[in-house]
């Protein structure tokens, strides 16, 4: 498991990561969401001991990453698929990792095959790899030590839809077997399907975090009515602020029953009433990450 406690990183006057805390439990996939430059990569680098935090701490299995003598056997890391020597072959990259970890290099071809890199690809130099192939190699690299924890920074970058689907299955299976996955992305849709928990970060601070289902539920209710003015008046009386979408539906920050009951009492005709679900989460994500001001912090 991974525990991040009050992690902070400042570069001069800029707070790249500001008091970030969360945990990743075994058996779960945690989606680490935020726009580019939100501080995701800096946080992941601090977890992996590559960047010293200004304040706070991060532990893997209870100890700081840098105290692990041979971390590859417990935690697999893919922070940047392009950060491999362009002049090495894919097979050699994995062989070096295997030797470092004290493993037999005989497992290399099978591990490459498992991520969809065949014998021909294995013999090619990384220079000739597409970004998608590099991501696959990076995943094989992260997983070659049979770790219990995976930390992946934007692993879907450069993968085609089939590749993204494959990766989701891989990570889901890994977590279902008791593994811990921390997965960053700037695209909600990418992690929504596979994640159990979400941590949303913006401008270095945690905006919201929790179980995906809870966040999806908390995202509100989609309401469509024949009489928008009456609905607006009703919402005003209830002290709620709706967000109107282009198709005329309104996202209301409450559960379906509350708004349905109120609409019935007020005689407002509803055409549609449903939990906002992922659409609402995306709405929330955009809203939370768009406002980068101090009011952006929630919970």
């Amino acid at each position: 498991m991974i525990a991040v406690e009050n992690l902070t990183k400042t570069y001069g006057p800029q707070r790249a990561v500001d008091d970030v805390s969360f945990t990743c439990e075994p058996g779960t996939v945690t989606g680490f969401l935020g726009p580019n430059g939100a501080g995701k990569s800096t946080t992941l680098r601090m977890i992996c001991g590559l960047t010293p935090p200004t304040a706070g701490r991060a532990t893997v299995a209870g100890v700081p990453y840098r105290r692990l003598g041979n971390p590859g056997r417990h935690i697999g890391v893919l922070l940047d698929a392009s950060a491999q020597h362009a002049g090495r072959t894919g097979r050699e990259v994995l062989a070096l990792a295997a030797i470092t970890m004290g493993l037999d290099t005989a497992r290399v071809p099978e591990r490459l095959a498992r991520v969809g890199l065949d014998g021909t690809a294995a013999k090619r130099r990384v220079r000739a790899y597409s970004l998608g192939m590099r991501q696959r190699l990076g995943l094989a690299y992260a997983m070659i030590g049979d770790p219990a924890v995976l930390v992946l920074d934007e692993p879907a970058n450069g993968l085609d839809p089939e590749g993204i689907h494959w990766m989701r299955g891989l990570l889901r299976g890994f977590a279902d077997r008791g593994g811990t996955v921390l997965l960053s992305s700037h695209l909600l849709r990418e992690v929504e399907v596979v994640a159990d928990r979400l941590v949303v970060i913006g401008n270095g601070r945690i905006l919201t975090q929790g179980d995906k289902e809870a966040l999806l539920g908390a995202a509100g209710t989609m309401v469509r009515t024949t009489d928008p003015a009456a609905l607006d008046a009703l919402l005003q009386r209830m002290g709620l602020t709706g967000t109107r979408s282009a198709d005329g539906s309104v996202l209301v920050p409450t559960d379906p029953e509350t708004i349905g009951q109120a609409a019935a009492t007020a005689g407002v005709v509803l055409l549609e009433l449903r939990p906002a679900g992922s659409g609402g989460l995306e709405e929330m994500f955009l809203r939370l990450t768009a406002s980068t001001g101090p009011e952006g912090a929630h919970r």
Binding site: P71, L79, Q84, L96, G102, R125
Partner: protein, 261 residues
């Protein structure tokens, strides 16, 4: 925001807790010297150039000069010049190719990685010296056939001195690589700076005394002659301190502190 601390503390499996042994790390660093095109070609060029030194002596030197000592000494020139580049690449490529990210993720103890690179550099220098000795011996067997002297006498002190010289230069490459963390810059500075210093020391009278102690090109000259005197050793030690140890220490501090991204 509260952090859940009531979960059972996960324990680190033994395989992940124990540090990677130095021997294994050194083996990995040795392998990394030769598993890229740049590294492989550098080694091939050094091998071919060393072959060429024997060919040159056998073909064009005065017959009396074709001895094992001469073949061996001349044969060491290519590796003395080019192996340090491998030493530089060993460190700088981690940053220019951004492999430091995965290297230090697998081995967070950066000092151990650096130590393994130094050990690998020393080992490759020893191996190159041994290979040169074998090659020189082979060439010396042919020597009588082309009318050469072919004598086998070699002052034993020369073996150790030449070995040390090779190791020193490769470590100097490691040191400059760690200090500058940039391949082209490190290679240029590695070759240009000592040269500039030698020119200055040779031409400016006020620097003449200092260069006797601080110019590695001058002090290492004694290593190619048998039986160095204690004065020569002292000068070598001082200049090696300035050109090898000091940059290695400063470079290590830089590598240990630098943020990897």
């Amino acid at each position: 925001m509260s952090v859940t601390t009531d979960v059972t503390p996960a324990t680190v499996p033994a395989a992940a807790a124990a540090p990677v042994p130095m021997a294994r790390l050194t083996l990995v660093e040795l392998r990394k010297l030769a598993d890229t095109r740049a590294g492989m070609w550098l080694l091939i060029v050094i091998g071919l150039a060393t072959l060429a030194t024997s060919a040159i002596l056998l073909g064009w030197a005065d017959d009396s000069e074709i001895t094992f000592a001469a073949l061996y000494t001349f044969g060491l020139v290519p590796s003395a010049v080019l192996l340090p580049v491998l030493g530089i690449l060993s460190v700088t490529s981690e940053w220019s190719q951004r492999t430091a990210l995965s290297t230090f993720t697998l081995v967070p103890a950066r000092s151990r990685v650096l130590l393994a690179k130094v050990a690998a550099g020393a080992l490759i220098a020893v191996a190159a010296t041994a290979a040169t000795a074998v090659l020189a011996a082979g060439a010396n067997l042919i020597a009588p056939a082309v009318g050469g002297d072919g004598s086998w006498s070699l002052d034993p002190s020369l073996i150790w001195q030449s070995l040390l010289l090779q190791v020193l230069f490769v470590l100097m490459g490691n040191a400059f690589g760690a200090l500058l963390l940039n391949t082209p810059l490190a290679i240029v500075i590695f070759f240009a700076l000592p040269m500039v210093w030698s020119i200055l020391g040779g031409s400016i009278r006020a620097l003449a005394d200092a260069s006797q102690w601080l110019d590695l090109n001058v002090t290492s000259q004694a290593m190619t002659e048998p039986d160095m005197t204690s004065g020569e050793w002292a000068r070598l030690a001082v200049s090696a301190g300035v050109w090898v140890v000091l940059p290695l220490v400063l470079g290590a501090v830089r590598v240990l502190r630098r943020e990897v991204s």
